[in-house]
Symmetry: C2
Subunit: 676 residues, 2 copies
């Protein structure tokens, strides 16, 4: 007797009131769809090498070997011209892990591209691009993280020999966490405190060879190794590194921002605007934000497919049990996350468009959009990673006990994703970047200073300018409206989200500029400000993406109604979660008790609508079974068959098992049969 | 040059304004202190066997072996009369993991104790108590969890042979998640649907032999194995089990609640009140609740010691960086958790006292306190596990990047703790148990029905009885008071917490009894109700424990001021977190904007006070280095020395390393040097 799960999933798909293919083209976009398909072809052409179903049983050492083997094979294809460097990235994205070569791609090569002069490009970048050398970016030290000014590693100019001497003066100066360092890198780009003629110049990157190009053994004075097991990311060889007075040629200092001459004279090119580097940070954060949308979609694909097929309890004892996703408390946890995953992916199109606009302006010497882009990107990195990591956790918990099994696909994955809360600026610290831009902008507007016009300042201007340009009805568009009317208007929802962030920004602005509260004392307030600003931006950008449906004949209009509902759920989840904010609106902005409570009822109503489309919605993000690597989330719905099959492969279950025999002979048997 | 961390930790301890030893006696209690000390002696007498520092590098199979080896050794000591069965539990609590024998202790033996008749005690219980047989409790099936009525395994009475035939009719009927089953158990207590003479009798426990007592091989018709790797708890051999028409004697049906005669006549003893089993559930949940307090304390010990010594940024570039715990945003995340850990441990003394009172009454046939105890125990299991699991996560994140390393001690541990959200009633489902008691009680009080008097109904009565006994000033004790006055009174804080839960209970009562809303539609509301009721009970019980300080000369009064502050922080964290509730108070209960905002300011103020005592506070819970198993949390503060030492033991770092050589020869070298 087979379980019903596969049929149930087909029935869920039959309820779709839109085309999943059309939805995928609009939400994911043809470029990503094509890249993914090409990568899937590479994977499916070598199913044994790329089979990831065994990873849950592997020791870390064996995982490292598996990843290295895949990388070596892919590099072979690349050298044969069969695939591109980008294809390698796409393949690993689907395999959903990394290899020990990743940081040479992500950090070493980009740093060389940005900071080498022409001669250095030839010596370092060219071999790096062909993986003749592989490198890492060695900045963080075991005692020093975010505060890079406190880094202790030194690079001292030795005029006699025309070299730099790289040294690690203390235990805490040991480089730590450096990806691709532990077993792989031949070179490191070391961030060191530069000293020239006894004078401290600042922190600069220097290329230091680490391992012999003959036998890969560490070079003299280089103490290097792997930092050991981690919560996740265990196929990455994060490493440690310290130097006992290691010498490198003066040439190895990357020379884009600084130049040391033979006699130790320092020059800095004056045509460089260091603000350009902010552009790179914006790009990295936009990439994280989009990635978080896809990774959250992975967890949702598993949880929504599984809770649609898993049944439990029911109204009638003689009938089949009720699908778990039919329970309001399960919908309430999963459907808003589904809406947010769509919002993340949708808004990322606009985020990249804004980024590209900023880059184009910078190339023309116009930095006017950079500050807001920086504030937005910090906020969105923070909001998307927080929402995705804890969203994955919610999905895992919604799968009940089976979420705890590695075969759910939720756990290896959770560990890998967790680092996104911390990298590229810890989420609690990075909030200040957003909040300080907002507070400064608010103060400028309140004191009628000239300020650049953008999405953020326009909203602040709307509510804080003492000479409002719009009439009151336009400003407080929720006034006098029923909750149903508020919830059905994208613009009113955006006004509410906008006013909500402006209101708390204004509170902090008064405290900082009026009461001289310090920024340090404001770190708690910063969190709420960064979050509420991001929630506004997410909805604004998502809406801009949705607006393309109205102005184009490219997309099938049947995808509009459900996207409209997902927008509303996203906005309402933000508004209802912190209803204390809404209660705090005063005077002309104030909301009534019945408006606030009514929004909660609208929220629940839209969640029920979206539940019916949940399976086709996750299908339309197109996360392949290879990436899911999950019994619970399989596309075909054969949940329990796959689950049992995976359990049978647990090493201690093997036939003629020497492990189990040993356990019995040495430990279990003696307990049962001891003569004593 | 050594890092300062050890000295810094000593300086933190010097700030203590109370005695850690006195605090430990009051909070932890002499019984637990003595048990722990005895267990530590056992551990320290065999440091090699009990060294847990290597577990982070081990494959699951090796972890299983290590745990089995420890169990076999401990059983040997027990048989020699050197230690007791309870000592084994205490030792494993400090080692902070489990062995594959755990479920025979936790579930198999207790079930036999409760449900065997005299003859069965001799045959099953006696050998189980001496570990001559080891067993498991086989209830959950792969397709069926909480809804036990849907379990599919059958036990059919075969009159011809006087046997039961145990059968697994479907894939989904496979027993799953059963602890101690995968490699260890000789017997299972199988929960099966009993059929006698073609009639379905119900779900009953039957003892089924699984493995040969000669060679431990599975018996004919028994298909058994391990379910594979999990997020945590990997030294437990959770297993699967199905039966192909396996016969056992009629005798093996546990006969406390049912009796089947030779001819299939069913009798049920009529002197049994099944409500007694609720008492056991209360005890199990009280044990979980107290355990959660200690486990959260473990994470806090690590995070608070580490953030006291870790430094980052600072006001002045020429001075040492600022300890991370001095940053308000770090205090704001850790100190309320510290207060809650103290509240959990403190309140558990009262919780057990209430439980014992209930048991004593039941023994005298008085079931009047059982319903509230059941509701309270569900709520506290839910609240403590949720607070502890996500509290551990907060502690991990507060350690920054190093929290991601296994050597933080936070990650193996998080995985092990996570299951507490799901076992003994999933936290989202169990909320209904609490909410339905509250709503029914509220309805009884509103309709002037007779109802038992207890902590919960007294508070509902205070605010919902139409003939209030107390004057209004007493009832709404926060009215007209400043925030500072409210925050400084334990009783006023309790009134606020009490009114807050009664208020939302009343809302749901009106919907259910007035508007005929179903319980299913109420599952979202149940969550808030269960949480706010638990928050009231936690503070009430914690206060009762603190009151012992006032009525006793046993305890040193120097521990009072800081405990008073921890109580206030706990209460204020509950009140300020959901200030929308406070805004929602109406009429005579209403709070002003300045009261609500003022409570937030008081909260921050008390957090700052408690920060100074944070290190001595975690010291006074007395979590040993053996249990911490953490570089970051070491008592002596040698954080970085220990961290580096552990990294050096990572297998790929070994000298003359065949793994690393292989990686280079087969994968890394070919990429670097390929001729193509």
């Amino acid at each position: 007797m087979n379980p019903h799960t596969s049929v149930t999933l087909q029935n869920e798909r039959a309820k779709a009131n839109f085309s999943s293919d059309d939805m995928m083209r609009f939400m994911v976009g043809n470029e990503i769809i094509n890249n993914r398909n090409r990568a899937l072809e590479i994977i499916r052409a070598n199913p044994e090498l790329f089979d990831q179903t065994d990873i849950y049983y592997l020791h870390r050492t064996d995982k490292l070997e598996k990843a290295l083997k895949q990388e070596a094979y892919l590099q072979g294809l690349r050298r044969q011209g069969k695939i591109t460097a980008q294809d390698i990235v796409e393949v690993l994205d689907i395999l959903d892990w990394t290899t020990p070569f990743a940081l040479t791609r992500i950090m070493f090569i980009p740093t060389l591209e940005q900071q080498c002069n022409e001669e250095q490009r030839e010596v370092f970048l060219k071999p790096a691009l062909d993986y003749r050398i592989v490198g890492c970016y060695a900045q963080t030290e075991v005692g020093h993280g975010s505060n890079i000014r406190a880094l202790e590693t030194t690079a001292t100019f030795i005029e006699e020999t025309d070299e730099f001497e790289i040294n690690s003066p203390t235990l805490t100066s040991t480089k730590w966490w450096i990806g691709s360092l532990g077993i792989t890198s031949t070179h490191a780009c070391v961030m060191a405190q530069l000293y020239v003629k006894g004078k401290h110049i600042g922190l600069f990157p220097i290329i230091v060879p680490l391992r012999s190009m003959v036998d890969h053994k560490p070079l003299p004075g280089v103490n290097v190794g792997d930092i050991g097991p981690k919560l996740g990311f265990n196929t990455m060889d994060n490493g440690f590194l310290n130097f006992d007075k290691v010498r490198v040629p003066r040439f190895n200092l990357l020379q884009k921002y600084i130049n040391i001459s033979r006699d130790g004279t320092i020059t800095r090119p004056n045509n460089i605007d260091t603000r350009v580097t902010y552009g790179t940070m914006v790009y990295v954060r936009a990439t994280i934000a989009r990635g978080m949308g896809f990774q959250l979609s992975k967890a949702l694909t598993i949880a929504i497919r599984y809770t649609s097929t898993r049944r439990q309890f029911g109204s009638d004892i003689d009938r089949p049990e009720t699908p778990v996703l039919d329970y309001p408390i399960v919908q309430y946890r999963l459907i808003p996350l589904l809406a947010k995953a769509f919002a993340m992916i949708g808004m990322s199109h606009e985020f990249f468009a804004q980024y590209e606009n900023t880059v184009k302006r910078i190339e023309n010497g116009d930095f006017s959009t950079l500050k807001e882009m920086h504030a937005v990107s910090c906020g969105l990195k923070r909001w998307t990673s927080d929402t995705a990591v804890y969203g994955i956790d919610t999905c895992r918990h919604a799968c009940g006990g089976h979420g705890f099994s590695m075969f759910s696909g939720m756990n290896e994955f959770f560990g890998d994703m967790y680092q996104n809360l911390i990298v590229e600026g810890d989420n609690y610290m990075i909030a200040k970047q957003t909040a300080s831009y907002l507070v400064k902008s608010a103060q400028s507007i309140k004191t009628s200073e000239q300020i650049e016009s953008n999405d953020t300042t326009n909203m602040i201007n709307k509510y804080l300018n003492s000479n409002p340009s719009s009439s009151q009805g336009d400003m407080f568009s929720w006034s006098q409206k029923s909750a149903a009317d508020i919830a059905s208007s994208h613009d009113t929802l955006l006004d509410l989200l906008g006013y909500r962030f402006v209101n708390i920004v204004n509170d902090l602005t008064v405290k900082i500029y009026g009461n001289k509260q310090t920024w340090e004392e404001s770190s708690v307030a910063n969190q709420a400000i960064a979050t509420s600003h991001s929630e506004y931006i997410v909805c604004l950008y998502f809406k801009r993406h949705l607006d393309k449906l109205y102005n184009s004949s490219t997309f099938n209009p049947n995808i509009k109604p459900i996207l409209d509902i997902l927008f509303k759920i996203t906005a309402l989840s933000f508004l209802t979660k912190s209803s204390a904010d809404l209660f705090g609106f005063s005077d002309k902005a104030s909301m009534t008790f019945s408006q606030i409570k009514g929004l909660e009822a609208e929220y629940i109503k839209y969640i029920k609508f979206a539940r019916v489309q949940a399976v086709p919605l996750v299908d339309s993000i197109g996360i392949s079974d290879e990436k899911l690597n999950s019994s619970l989330g399989r596309y075909d719905g054969y949940v329990y068959e796959d689950y049992v099959k995976r359990a049978m492969r647990e090493p201690v279950n093997a036939e003629d098992n020497i492990i189990r025999d040993k356990f019995y002979k040495e430990y279990i048997g003696p307990v049962l049969k001891s003569k004593q």
